[in-house]
């Protein structure tokens, strides 16, 4: 097996790589977010049925997509850590969890703000809303479980198991509007295409890209902190200029 494949799996190497990568994700994220919001609020036309109120979709949908997607990535990293015993994969899983929880929360919150004026209810116990709430609890459970175990390697393994088991929920969220009668409408973005006006689509996909880049930047920043914390007793950390000063 060639060793180079695993070069950046070593936390000491990845720490520096991540530091260099962060601005390349953070700056485009900020620019795209402003562009997406501008198109969303000033260029995109009002909706025929919901007029201006539909514009919350430009936050609601990217947040919902990412809350599900981050969970799969997190579970993937956790599984890698479990299978290959690579410390960095587990740290990536840990660093993704708070961002995923944030997006799940934003998704539920904006959904409630949207639901009240349009449906007439902040919340209904339909399959889509309930499974998204379970996703938020899975994130919080993952964070709490890892925080409650002192030994980081054991915390990684316990969290990985929860993350992998919970990933069953993600397809349920996605297909809930198809499988059951729900108050929540069906998917606007389907595998076959999108049932949306073009300017609305642009705003939504640009904001989605912005949120995506933000997730990468923020999880890289967080994983650097986790690396420092876990490797604090090693030689290379004590030699870092930012640690010594």
């Amino acid at each position: 097996m060639s060793i180079n494949w695993f070069k950046y799996a070593a936390p000491s190497n990845f720490y520096h790589l991540a530091g260099k990568l962060i601005p390349w994700f953070a700056v485009p994220a900020a620019i795209l977010f402003v562009v997406g919001m501008y198109i969303g609020f000033f260029v995109a036309p009002p909706d025929a049925v919901q007029s201006e109120a539909y514009r919350i979709i430009f936050i609601h949908v990217p947040a919902s997509i990412l809350s599900m997607f981050i969970y799969l990535i997190m579970a993937g990293y956790a599984a890698l850590g479990l299978i290959f015993n690579t410390r960095l994969s587990s740290m990536m899983a840990t660093s993704l969890a708070p961002t995923g929880a944030l997006f799940a929360f934003i998704s539920l919150w904006t959904g409630a703000l949207w639901g009240k004026p349009m449906w007439g209810a902040w919340w209904v116990w339909d399959a889509r809303l309930t499974s998204e709430l379970i996703l938020l609890f899975l994130y919080l459970g993952f964070i709490a479980l890892q925080a409650s175990i002192d030994d980081p390697r054991r915390a990684d393994r316990a969290g990985a198991l929860l993350a992998i088991v919970g990933s069953v929920n993600v397809p349920i969220i996605y297909f809930s509007v198809k499988w059951w009668n729900t108050l929540h409408q069906g998917s606007t973005i389907k595998f076959t295409g999108t049932s949306m006006h073009i300017a609305m689509q642009q705003a939504m996909f640009i904001t989605l890209a912005a949120c995506w880049l933000y997730v990468v930047a923020v999880s890289l920043a967080r994983v650097r902190s986790i690396i420092l914390e876990r490797e604090r007793s090693t030689q290379w950390v004590s030699e870092l200029s930012e640690v010594r000063s």
Binding site: P45, P46, D47, A48, V49, Q50, Y54, I57, A79, L82, I83, F84, N85, P117, M118, W119, G120, A121, V124, W125, D126, A127, I164, V165, S167, V168, I172, W179, W180, N181, T182, L183, Q185, G186, S187, T188, S195, M196, H197, M200
Partner: protein
């Protein structure tokens, strides 16, 4: 088999088993997971008797009648196969409209009249500017056969019976 492969197999097998189990549970709970019953299901007596439940469908065209008190509304909810009389006293959501989706919660009373205490509007997943919607509606109207649709609309309309007000 290396321990690495063993762990991979263990995780994959576990996920498959778990997915199967969850799938079976959800399949068994199919009726409980659904938020509402359709009018057809209610006619087939699949809805619970004597307790509150929800019906979902479209507000039938031309069926909405407001009572003199300004709050009570009579309308019919339909899934295009069957339709049911609904009575509701309260404020309707903005998106409540004839021909649009709605979910009502309440109890079925004698005479198959559904007394709702909550009306929720359901909108679809299509978003377009008003001009596009107008164009779409026009195209649809010109496609429809005029002599066939006109009498059908009248056929749907039935005046609310005098004794149905509470």
């Amino acid at each position: 088999m290396t321990p690495r492969k063993k762990r991979l197999m263990f995780i994959l097998l576990g996920l498959a088993l778990l997915g199967g189990a969850v799938g079976l549970v959800l399949f068994a709970l199919k009726d409980n997971v659904s938020l509402y019953f359709t009018p057809t299901q209610v006619f087939n007596k699949e809805a619970p008797q004597g307790r509150s439940f929800r019906i979902g469908g479209l507000v039938e065209e031309g069926s909405v009648v407001r009572a003199k008190d300004g709050l009570t509304v009579h309308f019919k909810i339909t899934d295009t196969a069957k339709s049911m009389e609904v009575v509701y006293k309260g404020i309707l959501p903005d998106l409540f409209k004839e021909g649009k989706g709605v979910v009502v919660q309440g109890k079925l009373q004698e005479g198959n009249v559904f007394y709702a205490d909550e009306v929720l509007a359901k909108h679809d997943e299509n978003y377009m500017p008003p001009e596009a919607k107008d164009a779409l509606d026009k195209a649809q109207k010109s496609q429809e056969n005029q002599p066939v649709t006109q009498p059908q609309k009248n056929q749907y309309y039935t005046p609310p019976s005098a004794n149905s007000s509470k």
